[in-house]
């Protein structure tokens, strides 16, 4: 952060302070926040950032460990534990400069050795690193000097730098690894603004401010993550003031919460897209006309409004508008049952067959209800369907079968890229190399032209040219319709309106460390 910007920020805070003081008409109303209580749905399983796959828990890890780069809600990268990167001309070496003078919360120094150890652990095939695929192009991490490391790549990969904002690459203090071994997941130790001070399983996780944090001192002294599995209860606790922040309240209550003067609701668009996969290689959906017809048959706007209470937006391109490389597509599949019927007739669709639909139950926001509505829309144009629900483990096992064994026809799924770049959305779902069982591109999309475009985009270092390639790929897949393009979720968070300055990101994270709270 440059000096000028810092000053600007101070100025803004100062003005806000004065405004609030005037508004309340009494004394210094804004002060340090002693305790901030956040109601969340699940307990953490592990606080080892390399093992974590749940965004909420990654969010906690970010507060304990900090990240090399921080990606702000606009997608801009800010230096944190790393200060800058440099990519070699051949795109095979990325040099990372580290921040000097940073200490882990136990006083041991943060340096290239710590970063290298973390990378060695990420790349060690014996370690459990579920998200390793996101940095799998890294061959090794080499220490150059105490505050410089080099990442050697197997092949050029343009979106690597944004990936350095992922929790996955947060460094753990080597001293903690030495002391606790793999139990470090229960004893997290990093260089972030907070230190874990108490963890009561199933009940709460408590963090206190790290007095030696390298950056700006957080205003919140203590953060209590209170585990409240039932969303209705969580919301009631927010209203009664038992908690200050309610993580993901019930969508049905969003309108009421917004109307409540005592509550602020934020709901930025997320990166996660929800879709109905249409098997590209097997069954009735191999016909492009049928896939397009299904897209016209469903009123996505009504689903978003009525089932999701506007906590999502209909997709108008194959990736979330929040990511680099997104563009709104020219042709929109607006609700048009007549056109859908026409297309089906043109495809000689057999209206007597029963199309098999499946959906997880409770994995995504109102997943089952959305599927039920889609079932009804398909039935309305004369398509007979049978819908089956599964719990997540059963469901995901069914998704991963190779094409020969796959029973998938029409199935609901969500995909939430972790960085604000279209690569993870397009490559991660539609490149033929991610067809099950190798990946979770369960629609079995297979288009050599598309593959080629995506591969080219990964090599392209020039952002504008890369954007053009991503756009071309997007148009191709949008027309092919391996999905019913449903909606992009919003990340909903509600908190006491006394709180100002909460930072909420499109990757479903929020950062409360610099908030202020009126008395």
């Amino acid at each position: 952060m440059s000096g000028g910007k810092y000053f600007k920020k101070l100025f803004v805070i100062g003005v806000a302070l004065m405004a609030a003081a005037m508004f309340l008409g009494a004394g210094p109303a804004l002060a340090e926040v002693k305790v901030l209580t956040i109601g969340i749905g699940t307990d953490a399983d592990t606080l080892n950032p390399q093992e974590q796959t749940t965004t909420l828990i990654q969010n906690m890890c970010d507060l304990i460990y900090d990240v090399p780069f921080y990606q702000d809600p606009e997608g801009k990268l800010h230096p944190r534990l790393a200060t800058k990167t440099e990519t070699s001309a051949d795109g095979l070496t990325v040099t990372v400069k580290l921040r000097e003078g940073v200490k882990f919360s136990d006083g041991t120094p943060f340096n290239a050795d710590a970063v290298k150890l973390t990378w060695d652990r990420i790349l060690d095939p014996k370690m459990r690193v579920p998200l390793r695929f996101a940095v799998a192009m890294v061959q090794e991490c080499v220490k150059v000097d105490d505050y410089t490391v080099q990442l050697k790549l197997k092949f050029p990969f343009a979106p690597l730098v944004p990936a350095l904002s992922m929790t996955l690459v947060s460094p753990i203090a080597p001293s903690a690894i030495e002391k606790y071994g793999e139990d470090v997941r229960q004893h997290p130790l990093g260089a972030g603004p907070y230190v874990l001070s108490e963890w009561v399983k199933g009940d709460r996780i408590v963090m206190t401010r790290n007095p030696d944090y390298w950056g700006e001192k957080p205003t919140v002294e203590k953060i209590v993550w209170k585990i409240v599995p039932e969303a209705a209860t969580r919301e009631a606790m927010l209203r009664t003031g038992q908690i200050d922040v309610c993580y993901k309240p019930m969508p049905s209550s969003v309108a009421a919460l917004k109307a409540d003067q005592k509550v602020t609701v934020e709901m930025p668009l997320d990166t996660r897209t929800i879709f109905m996969g249409l098997n590209y290689q097997k069954g009735v959906t191999t016909d492009k006309l049928v896939r397009q017809a299904f897209n016209y048959a469903v009123d996505k706007k009504a689903i978003v409004k009525k089932i999701l209470f506007d906590t999502a937006e209909p997709m108008d391109g194959p990736v979330s508008p929040k990511v680099f490389g997104y563009a709104k597509m020219a042709n929109q599949y607006d609700y048009d049952p007549e056109k859908a019927k026409e297309l089906l007739k043109k495809a000689n669709f057999d209206f007597n067959q029963v199309v098999q639909m499946r959906t997880p139950n409770g994995r995504y926001l109102f997943d089952k209800q959305v599927s039920e509505a889609i079932q009804a829309y398909l039935q309305a144009i004369g398509v007979k369907t049978e819908l089956r629900t599964y719990d997540w483990p059963t469901y995901v096992a069914g998704l991963l079968k190779p094409i020969a064994e796959s029973e998938l026809e029409v199935f609901l799924l969500g995909w939430g890229p972790l960085v604000l770049d279209a690569d993870m959305g397009l490559y991660g779902q539609f490149h033929s190399s991610v067809n099950p069982p190798k990946g979770l591109g369960a629609a079995f999309y297979n288009n050599p032209e598309f593959d080629k475009l995506m591969e080219e985009s990964r090599q392209e270092q020039d952002p504008e040219k890369r954007k053009a390639l991503l756009l071309k790929a997007s148009e191709m897949v949008w027309d092919d319709c391996p999905w019913m393009w449903l909606h992009v979720e919003k990340f909903v968070i509600a908190y006491s309106s006394k709180i100002k300055g909460m930072v909420v990101t499109p990757t479903e994270k929020f950062f409360p460390q610099y908030i202020t709270k009126a008395k």
Partner: protein, 306 residues
């Protein structure tokens, strides 16, 4: 007496072995792969396989079971697949909460249910009786989770008197224990009434009355004492049910107990965690029922275990 106790305790072993066997193979027939769930949506096949190996899921089921039993003999329930923490540690963190909730609920249920049952049995087919029996019937017929939700809506959201969930002081215990107790209270009241009616009709009560004992004495010393056995049985059995049945209450009220832990573990296919928790539940259930048997002897000196 001691010999009886010893025999009963010994009989736990085959029950637990049978349970563990049943449980173990039942779990392995669950569809879904724990490694897949742990690895998340984006992991590669290699990483999933790695986790499978780490969890020992690549070995044949009988080998897995053998290992489980050997560890069990060493009083080691293994490590949770999800958190990698020792199962016993995870259970230990939550069991006291479930027991607190259950004990409070049972005590509440006894304090309300037994007097209500006695009163209605003394005045059968009067308005008191109708009030008690109908209230009790309501309690037994109400879906627990529904009652819980309605209580939250009224007392936390509308009136703002009580916290909607979580743990803390005594106020946090009120709604969940009432919800959990509602059903048992009703059950105990019904049982007390039936069993009191029965014992009030017996000869020894008539005799006691004929001897000119005061009605209170007759009712408490003679009739109630005699009626206690079936009541205690019900309490013992209900305690087992409470332990197992706290799931929905714990879900509604965010109570960090065992019920919630088991549901989450089933959803994550965390085999060691499910095995450990249910075995502990089974053990508790058997122990409580042995305790109930011993209470019989205490309540009714005519019963001797030898």
């Amino acid at each position: 007496m001691l010999q009886y106790l010893f025999k009963r305790l010994l009989s736990i072993i085959p029950v637990l072995i049978g349970m563990s066997l049943l449980l173990f193979f039942m779990l392995r027939s669950l569809p879904g792969d724990p490694a897949q769930v742990l690895a998340g949506q984006m992991a590669s096949q290699e990483d999933i396989q790695l986790i499978r190996v780490q969890l020992g899921l690549d070995k044949p089921v009988y080998v897995q079971y053998g290992k489980f039993v050997i560890n069990l003999l060493k009083l080691d329930l293994g490590r949770s697949a999800r958190t990698q923490n020792p199962v016993i540690q995870e259970i230990w963190a939550r069991l006291p909460n479930t027991i607190t909730l259950s004990v409070v609920a049972i005590v509440l249920a006894c304090l309300l249910g037994i007097p209500a049952g006695v009163v209605s049995a003394i005045r059968p087919y009067t308005w008191v009786d109708y009030l008690v029996t109908s209230t009790a019937l309501f309690g037994v017929s109400m879906p627990v989770f529904w009652l819980g939700l309605m209580l939250v809506v009224v007392f936390s959201v509308m009136l703002g008197w009580l916290p909607a969930g979580g743990t803390g002081g005594i106020t946090y215990l009120i709604l969940p224990s009432i919800t959990l107790a509602a059903f048992v209270t009703a059950f105990i009241a019904r049982m007390t009434r039936a069993s009191m009616l029965e014992s009030l009709g017996q000869d020894f009560v008539t005799t006691a009355r004929a001897k000119g004992l005061r009605e209170n004495v007759v009712i408490i010393r003679h009739a109630l004492k005699n009626a206690l056995i079936p009541i205690i049985t019900v309490i013992g059995l209900q305690f087992g049910n409470l332990l197992g049945g706290a799931i929905l209450t714990e879900t509604v009220f965010a109570w960090p107990g065992m019920g919630r832990l088991i549901v989450d573990s089933i959803l994550a296919r965390d085999y060691p965690m499910i095995q450990g928790s249910i075995l502990i539940f089974g053990l508790l259930y058997v122990l409580i029922n042995i305790l109930v048997d011993l209470l019989y002897a205490f309540v009714d000196p005519r019963i001797r275990y030898d």
